[in-house]
Symmetry: C2
Subunit: 178 residues, 2 copies
């Protein structure tokens, strides 16, 4: 599996004792590539898919704290050494890890079971930086589970094709991969 | 109820849709008084109490994402307008809120049910900045539930009295309340 350039998988360590667990999720000094200015919390019902989205500017840093997510990734940066690569990574709260997703890498999150994730963003929410395409566009090369018939939001269900998204991105001028 | 000076309760807004919920937990621009350099995740079993702890330097920003926590607070800053005040605040994931706890305000977290919380700290972990006292020292004036017989870590169970903690704090010189 080729991870898009700049995507980082960060193994986290859950410290267990009789009371429960303690896990460091993020330190500003870790080499995540994400300067976190905002943190969000998302609960998802089983069978939900959020995405596929891509940002021109902002970077994401995400971890699953309950349940499991299949993270689909597709490198839409023309100037990236991994341009065109698609893959899927599973994040499971039982073996905690975080993933840093740089701008220009499209991403979708499929929740096979009820899940909670928290994520940081490098820029405040900006509707102009929320582009996306149909989660199952074959051009993404994301190996979603064959049986997936996910529940989408009306907005995600109405997203355009990857070809159309690429035209929008060209107009928005994705900054260089870093 | 008098909240110790500088303690902020931040109401959060859960946006619900068919897929689940989305909640902004923290923005660097919010007036929390906490400059977050690290985020941690804690799962707690029912009946656990963590604390009572106090920090000479670092500030905490905490929110409950599953279950419920009773947050006990006691103002140990001699120069604070609310010096000596103790109180208890309930945080419930069902009506999300966050609490910012400045250094010098002692705090303990009682989990009446299984709970998950995430919290940010303004300084990286430093064992020299981890002081504390017995959770049920009456001098704290924290109105814990009368029936509480919480499960503590061995370290928390061995913490000294509030009087002894105050001596340690005097030696460590708590910075002015702010």
């Amino acid at each position: 599996m080729t991870l898009p350039a700049g995507v980082r998988l960060v193994e986290l360590t859950a410290h267990h004792d009789d009371r429960g667990t303690f896990t460091e999720l993020f330190r500003a000094t870790w080499d995540t590539g994400v300067e976190a200015v905002q943190w969000n919390l998302v609960h998802s019902r089983p069978g939900v898919l959020r995405g596929v989205h891509v940002h021109v500017r902002h970077d994401d840093y995400l971890t699953v704290v309950r349940g499991r997510a299949i993270v689909g990734l597709a490198d839409l940066r023309d100037d990236s050494p991994t341009a065109g690569a698609g893959c899927a990574v599973t994040l499971d709260a039982d073996s905690p890890a975080a993933i840093a997703i740089p701008h220009g890498v499209a991403h979708g999150f499929l929740f096979p079971e009820a899940a909670t994730h928290v994520y940081a963003v490098s820029h405040f929410w900006d509707p102009a930086d929320e582009l996306g395409c149909r989660w199952d566009d074959p051009g993404l090369r994301i190996p979603w589970p064959a049986e997936a018939r996910p529940q989408l939001s009306p907005r995600d269900a109405a997203l355009p094709s990857l070809a159309e998204l690429r035209e929008q991105l060209a107009r928005a001028a994705v900054p260089a991969a870093g």
